[in-house]
C-alpha cells in the first residue's frame, strides 16, 4: 500500500489504562467487573472486552482506599463516532452474611482525545422498591441488581429505577487514535496543548 495514497475506511481507538482503585468508605473486600458498551459501528479488534478483577481489601494506610490496578487494554475500530465506547464498571463484594452483592454500577465514556486521562466515576446501586423488600433482600443477601450492567450506559428506561450512590471508582485511560482526522473527526482541540490533557484530572464529587 502506498502510504501517501492511503485512505482509511475505519479509524482505530486504542484504549489502555487501568481501573486504578475505588473509594467505598463502607465496604471492603471488593472486586469489580468491567465491560464495554459501544454502538453498531464499533467493533473490538483486539483486547478483552470484559474482565473481572481480583478481590482487594483496604489498605492499612490512612487513605483506606481499594486498589485494583486492573489493566484495560482494548482496541476498537469504527467508522462512526456514534456509539462511542463506554466502559461499564460494576463493583461487587460480600455483605455481612458473606453473600456476594453488588456495591455499585457506573459507566463513563472512553475519552475522546488522545492522551492520558483520569476519570472518577461515581457508583450507585439500585434501591429496593420497599422497606420490607429492602429488609428481605438484606436478610437473604439478594440485593436488587440490574438485569444487565450495561443498563447504566444507556438512558432508556432509567426513569423507573431509584438508585443510591455508593462510592467512586477511579480509572486511568491512555488513548491513542488513528485515522480519525483523516475521516474528518478531529477530537484534539487545537487550543489546548497536549500537556494540558496530561495534567487535567477530574475531581470526585465532594471528596
Amino acid at each position: 500500500v502506498n502510504m501517501t495514497s492511503y485512505n482509511p475506511s475505519v479509524f482505530l481507538l486504542m484504549v489502555n489504562g487501568q481501573i486504578e482503585g475505588a473509594n467505598f468508605p463502607e465496604y471492603d473486600d471488593l472486586y469489580c467487573k468491567y465491560c464495554f458498551v459501544y454502538g453498531h459501528d464499533w467493533a473490538p479488534t483486539s483486547g478483552l472486552e470484559e474482565g473481572i478483577s481480583q478481590i482487594t481489601s483496604k489498605g492499612r494506610d490512612s487513605s483506606r482506599s481499594l486498589v485494583w490496578n486492573f489493566p484495560l487494554d482494548i482496541t476498537f475500530k469504527s467508522t462512526n463516532p456514534f456509539g462511542w465506547p463506554q466502559i461499564v464498571v460494576s463493583v461487587y463484594g460480600p455483605d455481612s452474611f458473606g453473600n456476594d452483592v453488588v456495591r455499585g454500577y457506573g459507566a463513563v465514556h472512553v475519552p475522546f482525545s488522545p492522551g492520558t486521562h483520569t476519570r472518577t466515576i461515581p457508583m450507585f446501586v439500585p434501591e429496593s422498591t420497599s422497606r420490607l423488600q429492602k429488609f428481605t433482600s438484606w436478610l437473604m443477601g439478594r440485593r436488587p441488581e440490574y438485569t444487565d450492567p450495561k443498563v447504566v450506559a444507556q438512558g432508556e428506561g432509567r426513569e423507573v429505577t431509584r438508585v443510591r450512590s455508593q462510592g467512586f471508582v477511579t480509572l486511568q485511560f491512555n488513548i491513542v487514535t488513528k485515522d480519525m482526522k483523516k475521516l474528518g473527526y478531529d477530537t484534539t482541540s487545537t487550543e489546548q496543548a497536549p500537556a494540558m490533557h496530561l495534567s487535567r484530572t477530574e475531581q470526585p464529587y465532594g471528596s
Binding site: S9, V10, N80, T129, P144, G157, V160
Partner: protein, 1443 residues
C-alpha cells in the same frame, strides 16, 4: 543726626515708593518724622507693599540695594519690634487702612513722649500693650459693612427695573417660552440679589439695553434665559428624535440661472476696467435708487425747521447732518471714479487699438434751476448758524469748567501762602515735620487752568463753504448722471493682434457647468455651457429636487471645463436653505458672489488670476485680481398641486439647521439602547441615506446587509447548523443507511460498521429495501399469483407497519422489572418448598430435566446455537404393501421371492419374516431432519413402531444479518422438517455368480410422512417434548397402514382418532435462549370500560396465581392495536353456502368440510408477521380478506361457523403440541366432546391419546369465559361441563353480570366466488415452477417426465379433494403401475405462496432418486373455495421402468 538723616532721605524714600498707595506713603512719611526707628515702619510699609500689592511694580534693583545696604545704626531692640511687627501681616488686607489709623494714634502718643524725652534708649519707647481684641458686636458690625450676604428673599420687581418700565411676561402674552433649566428659587433669588448689589450702578444701564433685546425683566434673568435657550435647544436637538421627520413629499426647486464673472483669468485688461466701470455704475445706480442724500437732507432741513433747542435734538440733527455729508461725499467720489475709470478705459482702447468690451459711458448733464443755488446758500447758512451755536455752547461749558478750576487754583494758592508763612514760623522752631504735614494736606500744586480759546466764529462760514465745495457740486454746476451702455462695437477677431486673438480663442474653448449637491451628494448638474466673450454664462435651468431627508446643505459647484484638459472645480457655493415660506414663483433670485484663489497665468492677453498685472505700459501700478464671479440662482420650495407648498412644516424652523446633526449622529438618533436593536439601526441608516459606496460606511453597511434580515427568525442559528442541505443528506447513502438503521428498518436494523465513507457504500445496499418498498405497490404476478393476494399482502404490510410502530413505542417503555432484578418477598409456601427441596435425593432414580442456564442472545454469534433433536420412537408407521414387492421380485428375476435385501438387520428380517407369512417386506424407517438446508438422519430402524432414540444436532444460522437479538430470532421463519423415510435396499448384482463375493445394493428411500415445526415455536417454547402426529399423505403408493391388514376396506364413518403415524420427539435449542418477553398488552388503548378491564385483570391474576401454567385470556389486541374483550370475537357466522350444500345429509361431514375450509386458509403466526409482538386477533372478515392468520383466527372462524351451524362450540385456549400456546375449538355432540384443530382441520375425541392438545386453560364462547380450575388440564382427564362451578370459573357471574358486549365481528360474511380460470392458471404455474425446480435440483441427471402417469395423477387429484383427503380406492394405481415401479404421494397444502409448496416438495426428497431410468410424474391441482381459499394438491411420483 537722626532727624537730618530722615529729612535728607525724604525724597529718596518718596522716590523709593513711587507705586505704593498714597495712603501708605502718607503713613510712612508721617512716621519718618516721628522716630529715629521709624525706618522700621518704612520697612514694614515696604514689606506690606511687596506682599500685598502684587499689581504694583517693584522698586528698581538699585533703589532696593541702596535702601537695604544703607548704613543704619544697629538696633538692639530689634527683637521686640519684630514681635510687634509680626502681628501686622496677619491683619486682613481690607483692614489695613484702619489699622494704620490706629497705629497712628498710638505712635502719636509715643511720639509725644518722645518729643520730650529725647535721649532715651529704645527700650523706653517700647510699650507693652494688651493684645488687641475687638469686641464681638463691633466686629459683626464691621463685618457687616464689608461682607455682603445676599438674601434669599425674592427681589421685588421694581428694584430690578429701571423707572417707568413695565415688566413683560411673555407667557402671559401667549408667546412660547422654552422651559428653563431647573434652578431652585432660592438660588435664583440669591443671584438676583447679588447682581443687584454688585452692579448697583451698571444695572440700569444693562437693563436699558437688555430690556429691548432680551425682553427679560432683569439682567441676570436675561443671562439665565439665554443659557436656558441654548440649553433647551440643545436638548431638543438631541432628544427630539423623529420630530420633523419628513413624512410628506417635499420638493426643492433649484433655479440656476446664470453666472457672471467679475474677474476671470481670461479677462483682458480692458475687461478688467470694463468690469470695474460696470460695477461702479451699478453702485451709482443703486445709490441713486436709494437717494440717501436727499433723504438725509430732507431730514436735516426738517429738523432745522423745528428749531427746538432741545439738547438731544440738536445732537440728533448734528448726527444726521454728518451722515448726509458722508453720503454726499461718497456720491461725489463715486462719480469721480466712474469718470476716471472711463477715461482709463478709453485710454487703454486707444493704446491697444482694439476694443474688447462693448461698454460705453454716457454722462448726462442735468442743469438745475436757480432755486438750487438759493437752496444751497440757505443750507450753508443754516449749517453755519448751527455750528456757531454749537461752538458757543461748547465754549461756555469750557469756560464754566475753567472758572471752577481757576477758583480751586486760587484757593490753593492762598493756602500755600498761609503755609509758607507757617513754614517760616516753623523754621524758627527748626522743625520741619509740621511743614511736611501741611504740604501733604495741600496735595500737589494744581496746574493753573488756562482760559479756553474763544471760538473763531468768523472762520466758521469759510469752513462750511469749503467743505460744501468739496462734497457737493458747486452751485450751478450741472448734475452728472453716468449711464453705461453695452452697445459699443467690439473689434472683430481678425483685426486683433495675436495675443488678443489667442485670448479670445481660449475663451471660446472654455465651458462651464454647475453641479447641484444636496446634502453633499450630487443630485444633478447643468448642461455644459461655453463661456461667452462677455464672460457671462447663462444656464437657466431649474432642478426639482424631490427630497426625503431634510436638507442640510445645498451646494452648487462650478466646474470648469476646457477643451483638451480635464475639468476642474472652480468654486463651491453654498446656497442657504430657504425658509419654508420661500416658495417657487415668489422667491427672488439671489446673486451669490464667490471667488477662487486659483493661480492662473497665460501667455496671451488674458490677465490671469492671482497674477499681478499692470495697465500702464511701463508696468507700474500693478494689480492682482482673483477670479470671482456672481452666480445667480434661486432655491425655493416647490408648490404642489392646489397651491400646497411642498415644504416641511414651519413649526420646526430649527429643524433644517439641526437636522443634519441629528441625522448624522446615529447614537443620538436611535439611542444607546438602539445599538442592540438592529432594526432601529437599519431604520436610521435608511433615514440618513448612508452612501453605501463610502468607505467610511463600509462596516455599517456590511452589518446592515448581513446581520439585519428583513424577517424575524425563531431559530436564528438553524441555518448555521444545516451544514449540508436536506437534499444532500437524503442523497447521501451513508446518512440514509444510518437513518434507516436508527429507524430499525428490518433490513438495516442490525447492520454493523456502516462505512465511514460514501464511496464504500454501494447502491446495492438499498436494493432489497427498495424492492420491498416497491413490492408493496407492485402486483407481483410470480409470488402472488393473483392480484387479490398482492393486495392482501399490501394491506398486511400496512397493518404490520402501523402495528410495529405502535409496538416500537411500547417497546421503549420500561418497568422496574425490566431493569432491576429484585427478589420477590418470599412467601411461606416457597420457603416450605425450598425446605422440602433440601430433603430431595441428590441423584433421583428418574431424573427430571433441569433448567439450563439461559443465555442472553446478545452474546451469541454464528455457530453458537444448535438445534437438538431427540428422535425417540415412532408409532404406526405405514408398512410396505405386499403386492408392492411383486414388481421387485419380478424385476430381480433371479430370486424366488423378492424380499428386499436388508443387510443391516438380517436377524430382524428373519424374525419379521416369520411374522409375515405372505412374505411381506418389513419396513425400515429412518428419520431425516432438515433445517435450513442442513440434513441429518438417524440410523435405520425396523418395523412400524421403531425406536431410534438418537440425538441429532443441527447448527443454527440466524438471518443474513447475523443478529441474534430476541426480535430477530423470533422473526426466523425457517421450519424444521422431520421426515420419515422408508429405506429400501435393492441388490443390484447383475451376475448371479458374484453374489457370494460382492454385495451391490442400491438404496432407495420412500417418504412416508413429515412433521413441520417452525423454529419460532421451538424458540418461544424453548423445548418441545412429546408425541406428534406425522402428517402423512393421504395416499402412499406401495404402503399401507398395518391396521388395514386386519380390517381391510371397511372403516368407520368416524375414524378412530388415534389413526395416523406418530413420532415421539424432544426438540430444544442449545444453549437455551431467553425467549422474547411477552408484550404487556395492558398498555394499549382500549374502548372497554374501566370496570371491565379491572375485572379482567383481577380474573387473570387470580387464574395465574392458582394455575401459573394455564393460559387464561380475557382481553386480546385487535388489528388496530386496541384491547378488546375476547367474547366480542365470538359470533355465529354462516360458512359459505356451497360448503353447507356439499353434504346436505351428513352434518358430520359438513363440519369436517368446514374445518377443512378453515384449515385451507394459510397459517401465518403473528410472532412472525409482527416480530416480537404479541398476539393480534383479527376479526373473521379481516381474516378472510388477509387470508392469513394464526391459530386464534382459525379457531375463531371455525367456532363461529360451528355456532352458526347450530352446534355448541367453544374456543379452547390452551397449549398443544407442537405449536405451544394455541387455540382449538371444542364442540359438543350429544355427550361427546370433539376437539378440533382449526389449523389442520383435524378433530379428536376427548379421550384420544394422541390429541395434540395438552392443556386447557380456558373456554370462550359468545357469552362468557370459563377458566379451568380443575386439578388437571389435560383434556382426557377433565370435564368440559362448564356449568360445574367446581370445574370452571366463569368470568361473568351473578356478581358481575355480562354488560351486554357487542360483537366486533360483522353480522355476516361476504364470500366471493373464486375465479375458476384463475385457479387453473395458478395450477399451471405451480406445475411449471415445480417442474423447473425439480430439474434444478437434479443437476447431474436428466429428468424425464412421464406424461401418461402425470395425466393419470392429474385426474386422480380432484377426486382426492372431493373425498376430503381420505384414501380413495386404489384402482387408479393399477393402470399406472403397469410396467413401472412407482413411488410417490400427493401433498396437500393450503395456498399462500409458492415458496412453501416448493419447500414441501423438496423436503420429500423425491427428486433424489438417482436410478438411471427414473421418470417423474408431477401433477398439481388447485381447488378453489369461496373467498380465494385455495386448496393445492401436488402429486409427485417417481417411476422406474421395469423391464
Amino acid at each position: 543726626n537722626h532727624s537730618r538723616f530722615f529729612s535728607d532721605h525724604i525724597p529718596s524714600s518718596k522716590m523709593m515708593f513711587p507705586h505704593t498707595t498714597p495712603t501708605l506713603s502718607l503713613v510712612v512719611l508721617r512716621k519718618r518724622a516721628l522716630s529715629q526707628y521709624a525706618w522700621w515702619f518704612v520697612f514694614v510699609g515696604v514689606s506690606l507693599c511687596l506682599t500685598n500689592q502684587a499689581e504694583t511694580g517693584l522698586p528698581s534693583a538699585e533703589e532696593a540695594y541702596n535702601f537695604f545696604t544703607f548704613n543704619f545704626d544697629p538696633e538692639p531692640q530689634e527683637d521686640q519690634h519684630k514681635g510687634r511687627l509680626k502681628r501686622r501681616p496677619r491683619r486682613g488686607e481690607g483692614e489695613g487702612e484702619e489699622e494704620e489709623e490706629e497705629r497712628e494714634d498710638e505712635e502719636t502718643e509715643t511720639e509725644d513722649e518722645d518729643l520730650f524725652i529725647i535721649d532715651q534708649s529704645a527700650r523706653d519707647f517700647l510699650e507693652v500693650t494688651r493684645a488687641e481684641c475687638m469686641e464681638y458686636s463691633t466686629r459683626v458690625q464691621r463685618e457687616e459693612e464689608l461682607l455682603f450676604t445676599p438674601s434669599t428673599r425674592p427681589v421685588p420687581a421694581y428694584s430690578k427695573l429701571p423707572e417707568n418700565v413695565q415688566p413683560r411676561y411673555l407667557e402671559e402674552e401667549g408667546l412660547y417660552v422654552g422651559e428653563r433649566p431647573p434652578v431652585s428659587l432660592s438660588n435664583q433669588n440669591i443671584l438676583e440679589n447679588r447682581i443687584l448689589i454688585i452692579y448697583k450702578f451698571d444695572v440700569l444701564f444693562l437693563c436699558l439695553h437688555s430690556i429691548a433685546v432680551a425682553l427679560h425683566c432683569s439682567v441676570e434673568l436675561g443671562v439665565l434665559s439665554i443659557s436656558a435657550q441654548t440649553l433647551t435647544s440643545k436638548h431638543m436637538n438631541r432628544y427630539t428624535v423623529g420630530i420633523g421627520d419628513s413624512q410628506g413629499d417635499y420638493q426643492l426647486d433649484v433655479d440656476v440661472s446664470g453666472l457672471v464673472f467679475s474677474h476671470h483669468p481670461l479677462f483682458s485688461r480692458e475687461h478688467v476696467l470694463g468690469v470695474r466701470l460696470a460695477q461702479l455704475c451699478d453702485q451709482q445706480l443703486s445709490r441713486q435708487h436709494k437717494d440717501l442724500n436727499r433723504l438725509l437732507s430732507d431730514k436735516v432741513s426738517g429738523l432745522n425747521g423745528l428749531r427746538n433747542t432741545n439738547e438731544y435734538r440738536m445732537c440728533f440733527i448734528r448726527h444726521t447732518r454728518r451722515l448726509r455729508d458722508a453720503e454726499q461725499e461718497k456720491d461725489r467720489t463715486l462719480l469721480k471714479s466712474i469718470i476716471k475709470v472711463w477715461k482709463e478705459l478709453k485710454a487703454l482702447r486707444e493704446f491697444q487699438r482694439f476694443t474688447n468690451t462693448p461698454y460705453k459711458l454716457y454722462i448726462r448733464k442735468c442743469v438745475e434751476q436757480a432755486s438750487d443755488e438759493l437752496e444751497q446758500e440757505a443750507e450753508v447758512q443754516a449749517e453755519v448758524a448751527e455750528l456757531r451755536a454749537e461752538y458757543t455752547e461748547d465754549y461756555e461749558t469750557k469756560m464754566s469748567g475753567y472758572r471752577g478750576q481757576l477758583e480751586e487754583w486760587k484757593s490753593w494758592r492762598r493756602k500755600e501762602k498761609v503755609l509758607k508763612k507757617k513754614q517760616k514760623q516753623r523754621k524758627q522752631l527748626s522743625r520741619d515735620e509740621e511743614d511736611e504735614g501741611s504740604e501733604e494736606e495741600l496735595g500737589e500744586e494744581p496746574v493753573k487752568p488756562e482760559a479756553p480759546e474763544k471760538p473763531d466764529l468768523a472762520g466758521l462760514e469759510q469752513q462750511v463753504r469749503k467743505k460744501a465745495a468739496k462734497i457737493r457740486r458747486r452751485p450751478g454746476e450741472p448734475v452728472l448722471l453716468p449711464e453705461l451702455t453695452t452697445a459699443g462695437p467690439v473689434t472683430p477677431n481678425e483685426q486683433c493682434p495675436r495675443g488678443e486673438l489667442a485670448r479670445r480663442e481660449d475663451v471660446t474653448k472654455r465651458s462651464l457647468y454647475i453641479k447641484v449637491l444636496y446634502n453633499d451628494k450630487e443630485v444633478s448638474r447643468t448642461d455644459s455651457r461655453s463661456l461667452s466673450t462677455d464672460f457671462r454664462v447663462h444656464f437657466g435651468q431649474i432642478f426639482n429636487l424631490k427630497i426625503v431627508n431634510l436638507p442640510e446643505s445645498i451646494k452648487l459647484q462650478v466646474i470648469y471645463e476646457s477643451i483638451g484638459s480635464s475639468s476642474s472645480q472652480l468654486a463651491e457655493v453654498c446656497v442657504p436653505i430657504p425658509e419654508s415660506s420661500v416658495l417657487t414663483g415668489t422667491a427672488p433670485s439671489e446673486e451669490l458672489e464667490f471667488s477662487s484663489n486659483q493661480r492662473v497665468m497665460f501667455n496671451h492677453e488674458g490677465v490671469g488670476s492671482d497674477v499681478p498685472f499692470s495697465f500702464a505700459a511701463d508696468g507700474s501700478d500693478r494689480h492682482t485680481l482673483l477670479t470671482s464671479a456672481k452666480l445667480s440662482c434661486c432655491v425655493s420650495w416647490a408648490v404642489g398641486e392646489g397651491g400646497v407648498p411642498l415644504a416641511p412644516p414651519t413649526s420646526q424652523p430649527a429643524a433644517g439647521l439641526h437636522s443634519g446633526l441629528r441625522q448624522r449622529d446615529a447614537i443620538a438618533c436611535i439611542g444607546a439602547s438602539g445599538l442592540n436593536d438592529m432594526k432601529k439601526l437599519r431604520k436610521w441608516a435608511a433615514d440618513s441615506r448612508l452612501d453605501p459606496n463610502d468607505p467610511n460606511n463600509a462596516s455599517i453597511m456590511q452589518l446592515l446587509s448581513v446581520a439585519v434580515p428583513d424577517y424575524f427568525r425563531l431559530e436564528q442559528l438553524q441555518e448555521e447548523f444545516n451544514f449540508p442541505s436536506d437534499g444532500e443528506l437524503d442523497r447521501s447513502r451513508r446518512f440514509r443507511l444510518l437513518r434507516l438503521r436508527s429507524q430499525e428498518v428490518a433490513e438495516f436494523r442490525n447492520l454493523k460498521a456502516i462505512p465511514a465513507l460514501e464511496r464504500e457504500i454501494s447502491e446495492k445496499v438499498f436494493e432489497d429495501y427498495e424492492c420491498r418498498l416497491k413490492e408493496v405497490e407492485r402486483v407481483d404476478a410470480k409470488d402472488h399469483i393473483d392480484g387479490h393476494r398482492a393486495l392482501v399482502a399490501k394491506y398486511l404490510q400496512k397493518v404490520r407497519k402501523s402495528v410495529v410502530n405502535r409496538f416500537l413505542i411500547t417497546k421503549h417503555h420500561f418497568i422496574l422489572s425490566d431493569l432491576v432484578i429484585e427478589e420477590e418477598i418470599p412467601s411461606i409456601g416457597i420457603l416450605g418448598l425450598n425446605l422440602f427441596k433440601l430433603a430431595e435425593p441428590k441423584r433421583p432414580l428418574k431424573p427430571q430435566r433441569k433448567e439450563r442456564k439461559k443465555v442472553t442472545a446478545q452474546n451469541l454469534s454464528d455457530g453458537d446455537i444448535r438445534l437438538l433433536l431427540n428422535i425417540i420412537r415412532g408409532y404406526d408407521i405405514p408398512v410396505r404393501r405386499p403386492n408392492a414387492s411383486k414388481p421387485v421380485g419380478a424385476r430381480k428375476g433371479s430370486r424366488s421371492y423378492g424380499d428386499p435385501f436388508t443387510s443391516a438387520h438380517s436377524s430382524q428380517t428373519a424374525l419379521q419374516g416369520s411374522e409375515w407369512p405372505l412374505g411381506q417386506p418389513v419396513i425400515q424407517p429412518f428419520v431425516e431432519v432438515s433445517f435450513q438446508r442442513t440434513v441429518l438422519r438417524t440410523s435405520t430402524a425396523e418395523g412400524p413402531n421403531p425406536c431410534w432414540n438418537e440425538e441429532l444436532i443441527l447448527p443454527f444460522r440466524c438471518a443474513p444479518s447475523g443478529d441474534y437479538s430476541t426480535s430477530s430470532l423470533q422473526a426466523v421463519r425457517d421450519e424444521v422438517f422431520i421426515n420419515i423415510f422408508d429405506e429400501i435396499l435393492y441388490e443390484v448384482v447383475e451376475d448371479e455368480r458374484e453374489r457370494g463375493a460382492s454385495v451391490h445394493t442400491r438404496i432407495e428411500r420412500h417418504w412416508l410422512g413429515s412433521i413441520k415445526i417452525p423454529f419460532s415455536t421451538i424458540y418461544l417454547q424453548s423445548r418441545i417434548d412429546g408425541t406428534f402426529k406425522v402428517a402423512t399423505p393421504p395416499v402412499l403408493l406401495g404402503y399401507s397402514k398395518e391396521r388395514i391388514l386386519g380390517s381391510e376396506g371397511g372403516y368407520d364413518a368416524v375414524r378412530s382418532p388415534s389413526e395416523g403415524t406418530f413420532l415421539t420427539l424432544f426438540v430444544t435449542i442449545d444453549p437455551q435462549l431467553v425467549p422474547g418477553d411477552p408484550i404487556r398488552e395492558k398498555k394499549f388503548d382500549t374502548q372497554e370500560t374501566e370496570r371491565l378491564l379491572l375485572a379482567c385483570e383481577l380474573y387473570e391474576k387470580d387464574a395465574h396465581r392458582r394455575f401459573p401454567d394455564r393460559r387464561c385470556v380475557t382481553t386480546v389486541v385487535d388489528m388496530n392495536g386496541k384491547t378488546v374483550f375476547v367474547t366480542r370475537f365470538i359470533r355465529p357466522l354462516t360458512p359459505p353456502q356451497e360448503l353447507l350444500d356439499a353434504f346436505p345429509n351428513s352434518p358430520q361431514e359438513t363440519m369436517e368440510l368446514v374445518a377443512r375450509y378453515v384449515s385451507f386458509i394459510p397459517f401465518l403466526p403473528d410472532s412472525v408477521s409482527f416480530a416480537s409482538v404479541c398476539d393480534l386477533w383479527s376479526t373473521c372478515d379481516q381474516f378472510l380478506t388477509l387470508l392469513a392468520g394464526d391459530e386464534e383466527e382459525h379457531a375463531v372462524l371455525l367456532c363461529n361457523y360451528f355456532l352458526a351451524m347450530g352446534k355448541k362450540a367453544w374456543i379452547i385456549i390452551g397449549s398443544a403440541l407442537p405449536e405451544g400456546p394455541t387455540a382449538y375449538v371444542l364442540t359438543q355432540e350429544h355427550s361427546r366432546y370433539l376437539i378440533w384443530n382449526p389449523s389442520t382441520g383435524q378433530y379428536y375425541g376427548q379421550y384420544d391419546t394422541f390429541c395434540p392438545l395438552q392443556a386447557v386453560g380456558c373456554l370462550i364462547n359468545t357469552d362468557n369465559v370459563w377458566c379451568n380450575i380443575q386439578v388437571y388440564a389435560a383434556p382426557m382427564r377433565m370435564s368440559f361441563d362448564v356449568t360445574k362451578p367446581k370445574c370452571w370459573k366463569p368470568f361473568f357471574s351473578r356478581t358481575f353480570p355480562d354488560p351486554g358486549l357487542s360483537s366486533v365481528q360483522p353480522e355476516y360474511l361476504v364470500y366471493r366466488r373464486t375465479d375458476q380460470t384463475a385457479a387453473a392458471e395458478l395450477q399451471d404455474r405451480i406445475e411449471k415452477i415445480l417442474r423447473e425446480k425439480i430439474m434444478d435440483w437434479r443437476p447431474r441427471h436428466p429428468t424425464r417426465w412421464n406424461r401418461y402417469c402425470t395425466s393419470t395423477l392429474r385426474h386422480f387429484l380432484p377426486k382426492m379433494e372431493l373425498s376430503g383427503g381420505r384414501e380413495v380406492s386404489e384402482e387408479h394405481r393399477v393402470d399406472v403401475l403397469i410396467g413401472c415401479l412407482i413411488s410417490g404421494f400427493p401433498l396437500h397444502l393450503p395456498f399462500s405462496e409458492i415458496r412453501p409448496i416448493i419447500e414441501a416438495v423438496y423436503s420429500t426428497g423425491v427428486h433424489n432418486v438417482e436410478a438411471p431410468s427414473v421418470e417423474f410424474a408431477l401433477a398439481v391441482y388447485v381447488h378453489p373455495y369461496p373467498s380465494n381459499v385455495l386448496s393445492v394438491w401436488v402429486y409427485i411420483a417417481s417411476l422406474i421402468r421395469t423391464r
